[in-house]
Amino acid sequence: MSDQEYIPKSKFGKWFNDRLPLLSLASHLTDYPTPKNLNYWWTFGGILTFCLITQIVTGLTLAMHYIAHADMAFESVEHIMRDVNYGWLIRYIHANGASMFFLAVYIHIFRSLFYGSYKSPREIIWIIGIIIYLLMMAAAFMGYVLPWGQMSFWGATVITNLFSAIPLVGEGIVTWLWGGYSVDNPTLTRFFTLHYLIPFLILGLVVLHIWALHVPGNNNPVGIDIKKPSKDTVPFHPYIVIKDGFALLMFMIVFAFFVFYAPNILGHADNYIEANPLVTPAHIVPEWYLLPFYAILRSVPDKLLGVIAMLSAILILAALPWLDTSKIRSAVFRPLYKQFYWILVADVLILGYVGAMPAEGLYLLIARVATAYYFLHFLVILPVLGLKEKTLPVPLSITDPVLGGSPNIAMAKNKESLSQ
């Protein structure tokens, strides 16, 4: 398989492959030995690739009609929605595609957290993933500014003002970001440029992400190292391709439902009001996928510390491979970690919920507790748990549920916990 040198059959193929080994690459990708016990949570990598390509293709077509000018942006979006052939369809796919992209990336990240996919030897894959996630947030934020509605304008104002929290140079940086003394046309044109650029940076990083993945190979629900190729693995094509395809189609049904029947439900009504620098909407909220971080920002009463807390909440993930001291990867064999994992999931969902609510009274209190717990999980619980937790016996291979002679309850439990 992939370890063997690939030799093309045809003479031309050999000639070409000696000069540019595309055929070797294709052969590596199709034969790539993949653990055969991967469950559906592993299909989100493929789904995310689909999301990225969808966003790039629909984005390119929208850019053919969009006008990045403060006086014309809103109108050009309406032009797309009304007059351009299938413009409404392309725009709704692009707008909802951002939400679907984040939905998929959150599932992908939480899958990694559950099965310990970030642990050695996969730290680089994980860190590249965090960088992709950060770039996604930047792209999504700038994309949201482009329609130049009220939420675009005030979202841009609020987020760029975060930089003013930096001591001494903060104000200067904000003016530099804006290209003026407020969010205005120069801001819009540079955001459009960067919004156009970032997806291609993400694309490049995705190649690195997959490259880095193909060095150690996939983690798997049992979380053990496997021999490749062996009876524990299947070739990527057709086994994983068809499975990813099936999951992708399920995902597309949900996607299509949003695009065709609830295209504006994930957006905010105020963004259909043209930007007005004189009036702030009553209730400013970011898109749903940024709400947990927004809640963290607001839960800290100090401007600078709030920004630091929000950034740390993301950057702390990059340190995760070293914060988690456990030698066992999969939560299946870590009964205590599994409990804490689900508490973290609930914590993030709660943060998202309070992020959408006004920052006052009970909501603010909940946000503060949830923020504190978020950091507690990564900084205290994970390092301690890895040292103290009594883990379950781990099987030696996927195929043979043998663990030094003892019956493997974990394997049976494994299937259960995945469909929980």
Partner: protein, 169 residues
């Protein structure tokens, strides 16, 4: 594996591929069609021109669908000259009567049929138009007489709404 089973599996795969291909096609079409003229562009397909101030022997150029349209009010001599040309002398034979319904008025797209430049008025060897890009000569009926252009300048669909107004498109 039995023969029958193989066939059924092949059918299943073929059906899956076929249905999948239909979907890919249906998805690609909107991405292509979005580049076609949109509804607002199509709505601007016609334009009305007031020609009351045009004196015989003069040409005005108006914009229609982003292209120049020449409207020439021809003199008696010009009409006579246009009608006198023999068909065998023409590269793209076309009677003047077919090009100008009302012989006094010649309405045509001011676009050289060679590579799309705008020919110059009252220039060239045939008292008509001359394209400076690659040297195509047109006569007073807008027919190609000399040079690389393959056909006569195009006459668009137009009509007189009233004595002073021409509607193009």
């Amino acid at each position: 594996m039995s023969e029958k089973k193989t066939n059924r599996r092949d059918f299943l795969f073929t059906a899956t591929y076929a249905v999948g291909a239909v979907g890919v096609g249906a998805t690609v079409w909107p991405m292509i069609d979005q580049m076609n003229p949109d509804a607002s562009v199509k709505a601007l397909a016609s334009t009305e021109v007031d020609v009351s101030s045009l004196t015989p022997g003069k040409t005005i150029t108006v914009l229609w669908r982003g292209k120049p349209v020449f409207i020439r009010r021809r003199t008696e001599e010009e009409i006579a000259e246009a009608k006198s040309v023999k068909m065998e002398e023409l590269k793209d034979p076309e009677k003047d009567e077919d090009r100008a319904k009302n012989p006094e008025w010649l309405v045509m797209l001011g676009v050289c049929t060679h590579l799309g430049c705008v020919p110059l008025n009252d220039k060239g060897d045939y008292n008509g138009w001359f394209c400076p890009c690659h040297g195509s000569h047109y006569d007073i009926s807008g027919r190609i007489r000399k040079g690389p252009a393959p056909t006569n300048m195009t006459v668009p669909k137009y009509e007189f709404v009233n004595a002073n107004t021409i509607k193009i498109g």
